[in-house]
Symmetry: C2
Subunit: 197 residues, 2 copies
DNA sequence: TCATTTAATGAACAATCGTTCAAAAGCAAA
DNA sequence: TTTGCTTTTGAACGATTGTTCATTAAATGA
């Protein structure tokens, strides 16, 4: 047993992700407050008590989902601080739409369940969201200072663009009338015009 | 008693509105599922049982709030089908921002609590929302056909504009850095550019 | 003052909530 | 097979949920 390579009778690495997946699905469908731990357990195919091997409590389950989502969002945000502001903005629009379209449940939760976080957890998620907004605002500012964007208030335009892009999730469905490519094209068209590029 | 002008020992006309106001405030703050009838009663200063003089159940309380909000939204939407599309669109942007900024709690509930409606109530609210969207799309279409707007897909632009405008509610606070007039000016600037007017 | 009507109380209901924990079951190494 | 550890069960806990209802209180009209 010199190395104890793996735990013994462990299903943790199987059940753990399934618990998070079930919580994600049910929270998105019914809302955090309306989903019981027993409902999550039933979705996994397990008794409620077993969930507490994978989360200290219900609140942590919500926070972990939101935190993982925001972290992934920030990690995958294209950097490209070398490119010109217009290309950076295009890249941002493209990324935002595709990233969010791929994760409707995560996005839904991240926007709808903020008020069900404890004060401390809320502050942590808000900090991540702020970081993401700041990234877009930096792009806008550099475009303004180099004269390629015509924007009065970068903060407002930042929030307006993000609201507009995130709104795609309320109606877009894969296999619908429009492909994701077409959606990206049209939203980039609107954003481009709105910033006067 | 020939007319029975009013009910007798009635406080209905006082307590009734207070119940709706309390529900509005608490639903917006904590979410429908997380707010108990006892909490609403406490906000009114009454026992839980008394609420049932004013609503058949909790679900109706939510639906009535959302329904009243959407109806008022539609009633107050500027008509002006005589004006040119550009003026109509400007008027719509102005109205939307001001109407929503005046009613943060109602707007919050109307967007966040849709999933807590029964299937039937959900369909009714969705129909009202659709009506509102159609009104904007009509403006866009008339502008496209008269050549003053340059828009590829009126449906997408409709949803994008509404998402962008409604997003104001997530950050705007009266008495903050920007006045509502300034907000309207800047959003109209973006919308105008985005539709190529 | 008295009779009538309405509004509010406060207890009670069955159900469900998040969470805990001793006991049972499952699995891997010895 | 036995030993040791992990995972799951299933019952139990106190609290809280939406809702009902007989009773009490309050207010009005006569």
């Amino acid at each position: 047993m010199k190395h104890m390579a793996r735990t013994q009778g462990s299903h943790s690495d199987i059940t753990g992700p399934r618990v998070r997946a079930a919580a994600l699905k049910l929270f998105a469908r019914g809302g955090y407050a309306a989903v019981s731990m027993r409902a999550i357990a039933a979705e996994v195919g397990v008794q409620a008590g077993a969930l507490y091997n994978y989360t200290p409590d219900k609140q942590s389950l919500l926070f972990d989902l939101m935190s993982a989502h925001m972290t992934e969002l920030l990690d995958q945000t294209p950097d490209g601080s070398d490119a010109d502001p217009r290309a950076q903005l295009h890249s941002f629009v493209d990324f935002h739409i595709r990233f969010h379209a791929d994760r409707p449940d995560e996005v839904f939760i991240a926007y709808m369940e903020l008020r069900n976080l404890t004060e401390e957890n809320f502050a942590r998620i808000e900090a991540l969201r702020r970081q993401y907004e700041d990234h877009l605002e930096d792009i806008l500012r550099s475009g303004v200072s180099s004269g390629v964007f015509n924007v009065r208030d970068t903060k407002i335009v930042t929030l307006a663009i993000i609201a507009m892009l995130t709104g795609v999730n309320t109606w877009f469905r894969a296999g619908g009338r429009l492909s994701l490519d077409e959606v990206v094209t049209q939203y980039w068209d609107m954003v481009r015009k709105a910033v006067g590029a």
